[in-house]
């Protein structure tokens, strides 16, 4: 059984010009121990998706669909029940380690907080566990670091602390929202290793939000490509990276800067996808990518594209895709 099943999730922000649909009927599932990457450019609804799963978006936001996690629909839980899920069964790593830690509390007390909250540990026990977590995430001299404040740590260290906080209660699901975007490239690799290793140890599922296809190649088992809040392609990481079928995924891959063999830079410009992401208030009857698509046909504008299985474990939401026979 899937660990978490997101079923036709839509997230709507009410506004003066009607509801803004940031996530539009997104469905996916994560198995225990599996790492699923949600990929897309800025504004495609990646972060909103996980914020919706965690119900962090505030009272004005409306949700449609269901998020089934451990046999319950998270969207239907009361706020008190949801609090018991957050930080306990689902751990979250934020993008900005610089600002996602409270500047006026020691890192030790911040890690201990969720332990005392969810596990009811005493001050001493939670401190011992926080110490354990700090050494687990590779912070040297944890017995000294535990009483330090975030501003005394480097960016990589802080992200390690964030991971320690997210993992403190042994969550079944780990959500990492662009965990390496704010970090140096060298530190990025270490942090990714750490997330992979810890998730494997716990047997936890991971939802990884990123726009960095390097990170996807490094960490993900399965990839979901989203565009304008909709899924456009889903498949194993190898399938998506090696045989992308959707024009948007192809564009995304071609827009990735890379080094050519021999050490020289590739001659010429990087390819870019013409046009912009459609605004949230725009109502798109057909394919969301149609206005920017080089292969668009008249019918793409009128009708939603179907989900087409193009290989085993590979789904493309495009009218032009050829299904496997």
């Amino acid at each position: 059984m899937a660990l978490i099943e997101v079923d036709a999730l839509s997230t709507l922000f009410p506004s003066g010009e009607g509801d803004l649909r940031a996530v539009d009927g997104l469905s996916f599932a994560v198995q225990p121990g599996e790492t699923v990457a949600i990929v897309g450019e800025s504004g495609s609804g990646k972060s909103v998706t996980v914020m919706s799963i965690m119900r962090l978006l505030g009272a004005a936001t409306r949700h449609e669909g269901a998020v089934r996690f451990e046999g319950r629909d998270l969207l239907a839980l009361s706020e008190a029940e949801m609090r018991k899920v957050r930080g306990n069964r689902i751990g979250m790593i934020f993008q900005e380690p610089m600002t996602a830690l409270n500047p006026v509390q020691t890192i030790g007390s911040q890690i201990a907080e969720s332990l005392r909250l969810h596990r009811g540990l005493s001050r001493r026990d939670s401190r011992a566990r926080a110490l354990e977590m700090l050494s687990l995430v590779g912070i040297p001299a944890p017995e000294r670091r535990i009483d330090e404040y975030p501003h005394q740590l480097s960016g990589g260290m802080r992200q390690r602390v964030m991971i320690a906080m997210a993992l403190a209660c042994d969550p079944a699901l780990l959500i990492a929202d662009e965990p390496t975007t704010a970090l140096d490239v060298t530190v990025q690799a270490q942090i990714l290793d750490l997330i992979r290793e810890q998730a494997r140890k716990l047997g936890a599922g991971v939802i990884l939000i990123t726009h960095d296809l390097g990170v996807v190649a490094e960490l993900a088992d399965r990839v979901i490509v989203v565009y304008a809040g909709r899924k456009v392609e889903e498949g194993t990481a190898a399938e998506i990276l090696d045989r992308p079928r959707h024009p948007y995924t192809r564009g995304l891959l071609e827009a990735t800067p890379r080094l050519r063999g021999g050490g020289g830079h590739r001659a010429g410009r990087m390819t870019e996808i013409p046009g912009n992401v459609p605004g949230l208030a725009e109502i798109l009857a057909g394919c969301a990518f149609e206005p920017r698509c080089a292969h668009a046909q008249p019918c793409c504008r009128i009708e939603r594209p179907p989900e087409v299985p193009v290989a085993q474990d590979h789904l493309v939401v495009c009218r032009r895709a050829e299904p496997v026979s």
């Binding site: 962090l56 979250m92 996602a100 409270n102 500047p103 969720s114 590779g138 990714l192």
Partner: protein, 299 residues
């Protein structure tokens, strides 16, 4: 990125020895002394506070004891700063006046911050409460403090308590607005969101993540209210609408000296200087606190 992780050397960590706790405290203390306004303000206020607390021991005279034979004596060994037109010891009256000033100032600062924090938080909690609370506060703020105090004195009679009530009513909105603004901006901080994502409830969020961050600006605001309320108290005493005239205050000392200051300038100069010095001390303390909080954490 794939091959990046495999070619990386293991992380080399060079760590400095940790400063011992006692040493850390000493460093912090030295840091505070280097903060000139803070050190100066604290020194001035501590001195005045000690003089006020131990007034009965230091003064040597009853501040209310009238002695017709000793009127308008110059400063000397017996009467340190001389006597006023009723032969009362000016030094003693200054010390006892400091008690009134500091007490009223301190109470007003404390109460305004307390009420202001509660009201500010209520205001920030929802859009509806924000609209209502803020409009009410705007109304309260439009009343001049001195005028409100006079009205209150006229209804309830002059007493230290009523002065405190009047000043608190006027100063609370200032504090509430500050807290509301801070709450609105703090709520959007990623670490608050991270705390919610870790399962914190409203109360824990408030006490563990929001209140500590409010303390610094609140302390600075408190010093401003302290200074402002001492000035208002002096003004009220001056026009005779404050503490009853039987209690020596700097304000009524200045008022009584009005007719005689050409004969004996010290009568008006000494209490005015005391008031100015105290307010200078409070303002220096506030400025020092502001600087101290600014540097830390690079906020």
């Amino acid at each position: 990125m794939n091959d990046m992780s495999t070619t990386l050397e293991p992380m080399v960590v060079i760590a400095a020895p940790p400063p011992q706790r006692a040493m850390r405290i000493r460093f912090a203390f030295r840091g505070l002394l280097r903060n000139r306004p803070l050190a100066a303000g604290a020194a001035i206020l501590t001195a005045i506070l000690l003089l006020a607390i131990f007034a009965p021991l230091i003064a040597g005279h009853d501040p209310r004891a009238v002695s017709v034979g000793d009127r308008l004596l110059p400063w000397g060994a017996d009467h340190l700063l001389g006597t006023d037109m009723l032969g009362r010891d000016i030094f003693a009256r200054i010390l006892y006046g400091a008690r009134v000033s500091l007490l009223i100032g301190g109470c007003c600062a404390l109460l305004s911050c307390l009420f202001g924090t509660v009201i500010g938080m209520i205001s920030a909690s929802s859009r509806l409460s924000d609209a209502i609370v803020m409009r009410v506060l705007d109304g309260v703020m439009s009343m001049p403090a001195v005028l409100l105090a006079i009205a209150l004195m006229a209804i309830a009679g002059g007493s230290a308590t009523n002065v405190i009530v009047a000043v608190t009513i006027v100063e609370t909105p200032r504090c509430a607005r500050l807290i509301r603004g801070l709450m609105l901006s703090l709520r959007e901080r990623p670490y608050v969101e991270a705390a919610i994502a870790a399962g914190s409830g409203q109360i824990r969020l408030l006490t563990r993540h929001l209140l500590p961050s409010l303390m610094a600006p609140l302390a600075v605001q408190a010093t401003f209210i302290w200074a402002a309320s001492m000035l208002i108290e002096a003004a009220l005493s001056f026009i005779g609408a404050g503490v009853p005239p039987s209690t020596p205050t700097w304000g009524n000392m200045i008022a009584e000296a009005r007719s005689l200051w050409q004969v004996k300038p010290a009568l008006i100069f000494v209490p005015a200087a005391a008031l100015s010095l105290t307010i200078l001390g409070v303002n220096l303390l506030g400025e020092g606190l502001r600087q101290a909080f600014d540097v830390k954490a690079g906020r």
